[in-house]
């Protein structure tokens, strides 16, 4: 199946597509001008007004006291522990979505195949399982702390909204494997930075053992990031080559 990421074709979006009409359009806009005075800062003022007046996204649920050990109760007292639960909820959500992202990437692999230096099925499946294991690790940690691992915490909500475009792009049938790797890159960059922060936070709160386990997750995420960067690099270079050399370029 032929579907290069950057085929030349009849793209009509630029102003230079239509020199005659665009000249008239520019003239019309200049001549008519605006009806209300000011600039884009009016929008900023409304945003500020609403930001001052509305509430936050939501709260972090309290720990479930049933079956909690005293140590866990102590750990979860005060504001700092709430931050930890909030961020753990964020990781749980992101890792779980990550599993679905790699499932989507596997579908692309089945349709478009790979290239020299591109991802293999075994590699993508392994990363999918890593994401699943990380999800399991975070769930276990939340439960050990007496939290509810199914709760949607504010940080998880924020992260999901922030990265909403990644799954949206990955499942788009118009998008080929090389293009969809850009979504995985976004996810892996965030994953790396987020695990780093989580380890720092666990250490700050005195959860040394948790920090050690999380470090191993970060090690795996660093490998994922290096792999994804490499696949994008080889795929893009291959596509950029011309003539005979382009044979076997990613589609």
């Amino acid at each position: 199946m032929e579907r290069k990421a950057s085929e030349m074709g009849l793209n009509r979006t630029g102003i230079k597509t239509s020199p005659v009409e665009s000249a008239r359009e520019i003239e019309g806009a200049e001549k008519r001008g605006a009806t209300s005075l000011g600039d884009a800062s009016a929008i900023a003022r409304v945003r500020q007004e609403f930001a001052r007046e509305v509430g936050n996204l939501g709260s972090v649920p309290p720990p479930t006291p049933k079956g909690m050990v005293k140590a866990a109760v102590d750990l979860l007292k005060g504001g700092r522990a709430t931050v930890f639960i909030d961020k753990l909820g964020q990781r749980a959500g992101f890792e779980r979505t990550g599993v679905r992202l790699y499932e989507a990437a596997l579908s692309k692999l089945d349709v478009f195949g790979t290239w020299e230096g591109g991802p293999s099925r075994v590699e993508l499946e392994k990363i999918r399982l890593d994401e699943l294991a990380h999800f399991a690790l975070v769930v276990r940690t939340i439960e050990q702390l007496g939290g509810d691992a199914t709760a949607l915490t504010p940080a998880a909500e924020l992260q999901a909204n922030l990265s909403e475009g990644v799954p949206r792009m990955l499942v788009d049938p118009h998008v080929n494997l090389l293009q969809s790797l850009e979504g995985l890159l976004t996810a892996e960059l965030v994953d790396n930075a987020s695990w780093e922060l989580l380890i720092e936070l666990a250490q700050e709160l005195g959860h040394t053992k948790i920090a050690e386990q999380f470090q191993r997750a970060l090690d795996a995420e660093q490998e994922h990031l290096a792999l994804v960067r490499g696949w994008i690099s080889t795929g893009t270079m291959l596509e950029a080559r011309v003539g005979e050399e382009a044979a076997g370029a990613p589609v």
Binding site: V54, G98, D130, A136, T150, P167, V171, R216
Partner: protein, 398 residues
């Protein structure tokens, strides 16, 4: 029930005012508000949407009513704006969809339980089971597309299980048209119930037709196309319940009464104080509309509004879980279908419905594809796989 519909005058029309900020500044919290607060928001958007739809249709066919309709319709439009904008922007279209199906299930269950006419009650139970299945199909899609848990929206009030399978819900149009109540003899509650449910379903149909094409995932696009078709069937079914011999003004009066009833129901059960204030304000606005239309009805038709309206409002809609009732209906009535205006065992379906269904499902069933093997579990189906696989010391699955 303290509200006398024929006496209460509410807020007069000329004192019903809005500003853009007033219309848009309130939002519910997806994380912290009760699921039934979202259900009320969704239902009331449907009720207002219906009032505007009806008003436009009426204006197109009644020269003399155009001006009074325009006056009230403008306020209804703004009421709909304020209510629909209570949905927060961080609630995705698919999450709102889960809320729509939960609303369809729980509100229809409440209506079915309180409906005095056995045929109408049967119709509501029939439709409810189908929407119940839609919640399950969309939940599977949500879980598998986003990796997120649909229970964060339904908050354990509503079961996420298959019901009458969507693949079997497709029927020939002539098997979706029902018998209407008789306006002269029907219980006033029956008239309000029919309006409430047709409003909710029409809103769902419109919403799916708008958001379905915004998805990139082909299964999501097909699933919305499939379920939108069932919602169209439901609108056909429920609007057929309303007596077509009611006059336009009689129907208008009923619409206004139903709006009072629905806002009043919301007011009785609301837990969010900001929304409680909204529902109270709109009970008062709707009483103003009702009073205005009542005067018009009595003047133009020379009839007493008491012939049409209940004196006191019926028991409020029950905004709470109906798990036991829904499970019982599923147990007893899953195997039903419809033939003409009557409900029949699936084995007695009309040939036209069998052919219609076979043709539509010829390239496969989106609802089956989306949910193949799906069983909802807390924390998504991946939590089961994660638990099964476990975590080893280096953070990898063994």
């Amino acid at each position: 029930m303290g509200l006398d519909l024929l006496k209460e005058k509410g807020v007069p029309l000329d004192r019903q005012k809005f500003t853009w900020k007033d219309l848009t500044r309130r939002m519910i919290s997806k994380l912290d508000d009760d699921a039934f607060t979202r259900v009320r928001v969704i239902l009331m958007n449907g009720i207002e949407s219906e009032s505007v739809r009806f008003s436009h249709a009426c204006a197109r066919m009644n020269l003399d009513l155009r001006e009074p309709l325009a006056l009230i319709r403008r306020v209804e439009h703004f009421q709909q704006t304020l209510v629909n904008w209570l949905n927060p922007g961080n609630q995705s279209p698919l999450e709102t969809t889960l809320g729509y199906e939960q609303t369809a299930i729980e509100v229809t269950a409440s209506v079915a339980l309180h409906e005095p006419d056995p045929y109408l009650a049967q119709t509501y139970r029939f439709g409810m089971l189908e929407d119940f299945d839609h919640l399950y199909r969309y939940s599977a899609l949500y879980d598998r597309l986003t990796g997120k848990d649909p229970n964060s929206i339904v908050q354990s009030y509503t079961d996420i299980i298959p019901a009458r399978p969507t693949v079997l819900e497709h029927r020939h149009p002539l098997d979706d048209v029902r018998r209407p109540y008789a306006s002269r003899t029907a219980d006033p509650l029956s008239k309000l119930n029919a309006l409430t449910i047709v409003s909710a379903e029409n809103q769902v149909h419109t919403y799916y037709m708008n958001i379905g094409p915004q998805f990139t995932d082909p299964v999501a696009r097909m699933l919305y196309a499939e379920i939108a078709a069932i919602e169209e069937q439901h609108v056909t079914q429920y609007e057929a319940l309303c007596d077509p011999s009611e006059t336009w003004l009689e129907k208008w009066l009923l619409h206004e009464a139903n709006e009072v009833y629905n806002y009043y129901s919301c007011l009785q059960s609301e837990t969010n104080p900001v929304l409680k204030e909204v529902w109270q304000r709109f009970v008062d606005y709707e009483l103003g509309h009702l009073h205005y239309v009542k005067e018009l009805f009595q003047r133009v038709e020379g009839r007493d509004a008491a012939e049409v309206l209940p004196k006191a409002l019926p028991e409020p809609i029950g905004f709470h879980e109906h798990r036991q009732f829904v499970r019982k209906v599923l147990r007893d009535e899953e195997g039903l279908s419809a033939r003409g205006t009557e409900f029949v065992p699936r084995g007695e379906e009309a040939e036209r419905t069998l052919l219609y269904r076979e043709q539509l499902n010829a390239d496969g069933s989106p609802s089956d594809i989306a949910s193949a093997g799906y069983i909802w579990r807390p924390g998504t189906e991946l939590s089961v796989e994660a638990r099964r696989e476990g975590v080893v010391s280096e953070g990898r699955i063994q």
